[in-house]
Symmetry: C2
Subunit: 344 residues, 2 copies
């Protein structure tokens, strides 16, 4: 599967990619020799580049243009060539400070993180809050609100807070609500939302005949409360990437802004990532979302108690500065993980 290039070809490939990352113009053989002072003539480089094209690493927009890296080239670059990840302590400082200064509500924190990632990288910042599997119930409160309404507040170990208003169809009194809160808290604290959902379905089925009135009420109320619990997704910095030369094409901008608005699709994408360790790099067509075939996505999970809970990342053009971005995402996820383990 994995092709190995001899050192010389690799150097040429690296040169083409680097040049293309700097400015998105097709790279010619002469330019490569001059800029990266090879000890070979343009003709030799041309031969090598022709070989690289045959192997699928480079492509030509048209016969007499220079070469452009393919997705395969970027993949090879990320896998094999990339220098060690540098810890950019300046940026980390900013990130760290901002994160600590802010509120501790996870949604706000992630929104902020996404913005920071965007402003440092000049690409799109991405952050996804813990979903039902990653959210451990800490406390649930049923607070009487207007006449026939109840406000439910859910607090999780991870720091996610969610609220919801539901109808008080059974006309439960404040003291009953208090008792229900207590019951659910006793019963389900420490379980993930997903586990609670499943448990609840089970119990409701089982208790249908046993018919303990308050219990039934509690359970169905609780079910309603956590029914809509899901990840929140933050994508920020659209105006940043509009400055990039590859987005001078309006059709592209349209596609991208539609993709960003469709958060549903992105949640699906994220689900696949949750199982993997470390920083994930998804280049162009590797992405199952075809709308993102001209973009690369760099993501990493952050963890709480060793379990992946959420995702942060950066979305940018394929010709992005991978080493910087990867280390940035990596560092950010470490910072968040540390923060979570302290704060938990």
């Amino acid at each position: 599967m994995e092709e190995i290039l001899d050192e010389r070809s690799e150097r040429v490939l690296l040169a083409v990619i680097q040049s293309y990352i700097e400015h998105p113009d097709p790279v010619g053989s002469r330019y490569v020799t001059k800029k990266y002072d090879f000890n070979y003539s343009p003709a030799t480089i041309r031969n090598i580049m022709a070989d690289l094209e045959d192997m699928g690493f480079l492509s030509q927009p048209h016969t007499s243009a220079g070469r452009v890296p393919t997705d395969k080239a970027y993949r090879y670059y990320v896998e094999n060539i990339l220098e060690e990840i540098k810890d950019d302590s300046d940026l980390l400082e900013v990130l760290n400070k901002k994160i600590r200064a802010g509120t501790e509500d996870v949604d706000t924190l992630l929104d902020e993180t996404s913005r920071i990632l965007s402003s440092i990288s000049k690409y799109l910042g991405l952050a996804v809050s813990p979903g039902p599997e990653g959210s451990v119930l800490r406390k649930i409160e049923f607070v009487p609100y207007k006449d026939d309404r109840i406000a439910v507040v859910i607090l999780t170990d991870e720091g996610v807070i969610r609220h919801k208003i539901i109808k008080n169809e059974l006309a439960l009194s404040p003291s009953e609500l208090q008792r229900i809160s207590n019951y659910i808290n006793r019963q389900y604290k420490g379980f993930t939302i997903k586990e609670i959902r499943e448990n609840l379905a089970e119990e409701l089925r089982r208790d249908r005949e046993m018919y303990d009135n308050l219990l039934q009420r509690s359970l169905s109320l609780c079910r309603e409360a956590i029914y809509t619990y899901g990840s929140h997704i933050f994508i920020t910095g659209l105006s940043q990437i509009l400055d990039l030369p590859e987005f001078s094409d309006i059709e592209r901008i349209k596609r991208i802004s539609k993709t960003i608005e469709d958060k549903h699709a992105i949640i699906n994408l994220i689900d696949r990532i949750m199982d993997s360790e470390g920083v994930q790099v998804i280049i162009g067509t590797e992405n199952p979302l075809s709308e993102m075939k001209e973009l690369s996505v760099i993501v990493s999970t952050f963890k709480e108690k060793g379990r992946p809970t959420g995702v942060i990342g950066i979305i940018g053009p394929k010709r992005m500065d991978y080493s910087t971005v990867i280390s940035l995402v990596d560092s950010a996820s470490r910072i968040l993980t540390k923060l979570f383990d302290q704060g938990g």
Copy 2:
């Protein structure tokens, strides 16, 4: 101040504007006579158009092009020509249904409303939740959370729910927190957040010497809780307006997307509107935000108990279909107002 046009000029102006709204190409005299069958020749129309240009209603991109309406023309159009507002009951149906089906949390409701306005109008949807002046405290709860954290939940009469995590620096016990909740609720229920803020500052100053310990704690905790309370702003549908021909210019798109991201500026704009009755139309350069000089903003407040609480609206190109959009915004604000007065 207000110029009056004779009927014939007005008809010509109307024709130019309507044509330009249909498609953004400069309108020529011949086209006007043909399309809107005037009983005059192109030459006559030309003379009229030249007069309208002198008066500042029309302008020419270049000597031998047709005419384009100026901001002044749109203003005149909106003030004088616009037919009566039509109640588009189909759209209202959709809006009404969607709004009722959704949750009752105001932020979610407004987000949804903004999306609906956008999808119906094909422009940007705008919605702003009640700020400190428009939010009447219904209930505040201090819930013990992690070790040294308190979750504060604020419920308002309008249906806004806000939560915040604050540090429990004074190590207050759950029962103390309960007592504080009770105290604040008794004291401040029915006041707006703004009033509470002012009151709180006052009381804190007064009590500094009197020194009732729990009271002091309650007040400062409460202050911290409502300190950050502010409007939330929802602007949706960027990808919608990218399809419009006037946004085929990238620089424009950049400007607009930057403007949208800077919600701060928009909040300022909104503040001015809160005092006015009915639907407001802000055309191009009338807008204090210079970044929006190529856009028009149609907004209206919605009310609770006769008091304006929030704002909804539509942002689009200047050559928008004003009568439809105005009636849409008007209807939407009525629906929300009704909803609020029932639900309150």
